[in-house]
């Protein structure tokens, strides 16, 4: 089903990859003479030359930071002039750090809400466009919804905070507070509110109605991939278009939906875009990514409730825990996908 949605391209390519690699690594060449000569015959060592630029860049900017993060998570790297190993002490502090666990709960809330709202909206939009009688009109609408992609993401967040969810007390009134005023209700401070639930509400609803973006495009393309004969048959069987959405379209898109949910979950847990752009460091808005960022990089940020020996070492330890969580999720997802595909 997933292959069908992707128009068969990745699946076929993937198979040919494995085929080619299996052929290359099979011991078709019999060994004669010294090992190095054999290596040159069976393999083309000069191929490594092509990989040098990427290898240098990745080692310098990706691999060394990973290694450092692992090592320094066991040290008091940060406020002190010397760095010394302190074993698992950082990890012990993380387990007693209520801000970290609260921020983890926050990010789970934001991610789950975002995934549900975002996918329902994207699916609904894809269905609506798919049911258009005029293809021309549908493509015009699609263009309108895609326009949002062209707005820089920072601009979009700033607009939400400086135009829509503007707090009370400033010289100007924001759109939401103006709307509340029309109904006679008093405005609130949204992102900066003292009420944690209002802060969370504002964060979850940033980007409403969640339809701009690219995920609806992929759902839409998936729907267009449904065989016309299947739809014809469903019509003959008396399936109305409303029922078709649930009986035919959603089952057909199941693979894509699952894919979006899984990648969205893993990506969402690491996300701290809105926090870092709008500097939302109160406990109601805090997420692990931003907590790590502040602990490791901000000189003005100190969480007084915990006794940390070194800011950067502690940040690395929290990063390691987030890494382990995403790793477990990825493994679970692989197991889950594999078993499901075997059933089908």
């Amino acid at each position: 089903m997933r292959e069908g949605i992707a128009e068969g391209v990745p699946a076929e390519a993937e198979e040919s990859v494995q085929g080619a690699e299996a052929a290359a690594s099979s011991p078709a060449v019999r060994r004669h003479g010294p090992l190095w000569k054999f290596c040159f015959k069976k393999y083309q060592i000069q191929g490594f030359l092509w990989l040098i630029p990427a290898a240098v860049l990745l080692v310098m900017f990706s691999v060394i930071p990973i290694v450092w993060a692992v090592i320094y998570s066991f040290t008091d790297w940060g406020f002190l002039s010397t760095v010394s190993f302190i074993g698992f002490e950082n990890y012990g502090i993380v387990f007693g750090d209520s801000l970290f666990w609260n921020s983890l709960l926050n990010v789970i809330l934001f991610t789950v809400c975002g995934l549900l709202l975002g996918n329902v909206a994207a699916l609904a939009l894809a269905e609506m466009l798919y049911n258009y009688a005029s293809e021309k009109l549908a493509s015009k609408m699609r263009f309108g919804f895609l326009l949002i992609c062209a707005v820089p993401s920072v601009v979009s967040l700033l607009v939400w905070s400086k135009v829509i969810f503007l707090p009370t007390g400033g010289s100007a009134t924001g759109v939401m507070n103006g709307l509340l005023g029309l109904f006679g209700a008093s405005g609130t401070d949204w992102y900066l509110s003292n009420d944690p639930n209002i802060v969370r509400l504002a964060i979850v609803f940033t980007g409403f109605p969640f339809m701009g973006g690219t995920s609806f495009l992929i759902y839409y393309a998936g729907l267009q991939g449904i065989n016309a004969e299947v739809i014809e048959a469903s019509k003959l069987d008396g399936l109305g278009s409303f029922m078709r959405v649930f009986r035919l379209d959603f089952p057909y898109l199941r693979g894509t939906i699952k894919y979006f949910l899984v990648t969205g979950l893993i990506g969402g847990l690491q996300n701290y875009n809105i926090q870092v752009v709008l500097e939302l460091s109160n406990e109601a808005a805090m997420v692990p990514g931003y907590y790590i960022y502040l602990t490791g990089l901000s000189s003005s940020f100190r969480n007084d409730e915990i006794d940390v020996l070194g800011g950067m070492g502690y940040a690395c330890a929290m990063g390691m825990i987030m890494f382990l969580i995403t790793l477990v999720l990825t493994i679970l997802q692989n197991v889950f996908f594999k078993s499901k595909e075997d059933e089908a």
Binding site: E7, V9, A13, V17, A20, Q44, Q46, F48, P53, L57, L58, M60, F61, S62, V63, I66, W68, A69, L125, L129, Y132, A133, G144, F145, L146, L147, I148, A150, V151, P152, V155, L158, V159, K162, V163, I164, A172, T173, G174, M211, G212, T214, L217, I218, G238, L239, G240, S241, Q270, V277, P288, G289, I292, G296, L297, M312, C316, G319, M322, F323
Partner: protein, 293 residues
């Protein structure tokens, strides 16, 4: 469900009419959502042309006359930064495409020992969350490599971050190219470097354009890394500068947002133009399935 069979029995004229009404409802609902989606950005345009008293007394409605001076003032604040951003973003895009395609070529055209392990290593690097590596990466680039405040301090780590995914995509595309072309070229005495430039690259223009477009957009949007690496707002790329201008508007503009919001509008124009030109390429790239892995 029986509705469909009933309509099938109806005279054709009535059936058409029924379809049209449901179509009108459908279009109307989509339009409402489209308006809701675009509304914040419409408000951005409205706010960008407000004067200080208009912003204070009529913040949420269209007010006349427009204060166009906001745009010229905002342009004075961001013009250098936009040019700098273009430089950085073009270098990132070109560098990424070059390095990723070189690697993809090496991985598809050569029998390299441990090829499977190399591919898995690329994937593994991609899996590591950026929140884990951000702090050591910052220390490394700023302290050990001394790249604070330099272009390469932004460009090289950004390329490295986007590499694994790009290699993966381009490699998949390269593997789809028929082997016979290369064989024919080899018989004609074509070197591997020449084959890369005159066979592999021209034939994979679609995937290179898609990857390039997405890289261009995402690095134009990137805020955090330039914000950390560059040390003053004279050096910021546009996204970082907009955040800085917003944070300092309370003191530099006495809380007046008109100029800053005009800056948002100006900063959105380049991507908007690019998007309108490349709309088809963009849609094709997203939906081709190559971005779903």
């Amino acid at each position: 469900m029986s509705g469909a069979t009933q309509t099938a029995a109806l005279p054709i004229a009535r059936r058409r009419k029924k379809i049209r009404i449901s179509q009108i409802v459908l279009v109307a609902i989509t339009l409402i959502f489209l308006v809701l989606t675009l509304y914040p950005f419409f408000m951005m345009l409205v706010r960008s042309v407000k004067s200080l008293p208009q912003e204070m007394y009529d913040p949420n409605t269209l007010t006349f006359p427009f204060q166009w001076e906001n745009f010229s003032e905002a342009w004075g604040l961001i013009d250098e930064s936009i040019l700098r951003t273009f430089g950085v973003v073009i270098l990132i895009t070109a560098g990424l495409l070059l390095v990723a395609s070189l690697t993809a070529y090496g991985l598809t055209r050569y029998r390299i020992p441990g090829k499977g392990a190399i591919v898995i290593a690329f994937l593994a690097v991609m899996m590591v969350p950026s929140s884990l590596t951000l702090i050591p990466q910052y220390q490394l680039v700023v302290v050990n490599y001394g790249m604070a405040g330099t272009w390469q301090g932004i460009i090289l780590p950004t390329i490295a971050g986007a590499l694994p995914m790009a290699i993966f995509l381009i490699r998949t595309f390269f593997m789809g190219l028929p082997n016979e072309i290369y064989e024919a070229a080899t018989i004609d005495g074509c070197s591997n470097l020449r084959m890369y430039f005159s066979i592999a690259l021209p034939l994979s223009l679609p995937i290179l354009a898609t990857q390039g477009l997405l890289t261009f957009m995402s690095s134009y949007n990137d805020f955090l890394w330039p914000y950390l690496i560059m040390q003053s707002s004279e050096q910021y790329t546009i996204s970082a500068l907009l955040v800085r201008l917003t944070r300092t508007a309370a003191t530099t503009q006495n809380g007046y947002m008109g100029v800053t919001i005009a800056g948002y509008v100006l900063a959105s124009i380049p991507l908007l133009v690019l998007f309108v030109i490349c709309n088809k390429q963009f849609v094709k790239g997203i939906t081709s399935g190559s971005f779903k892995m």
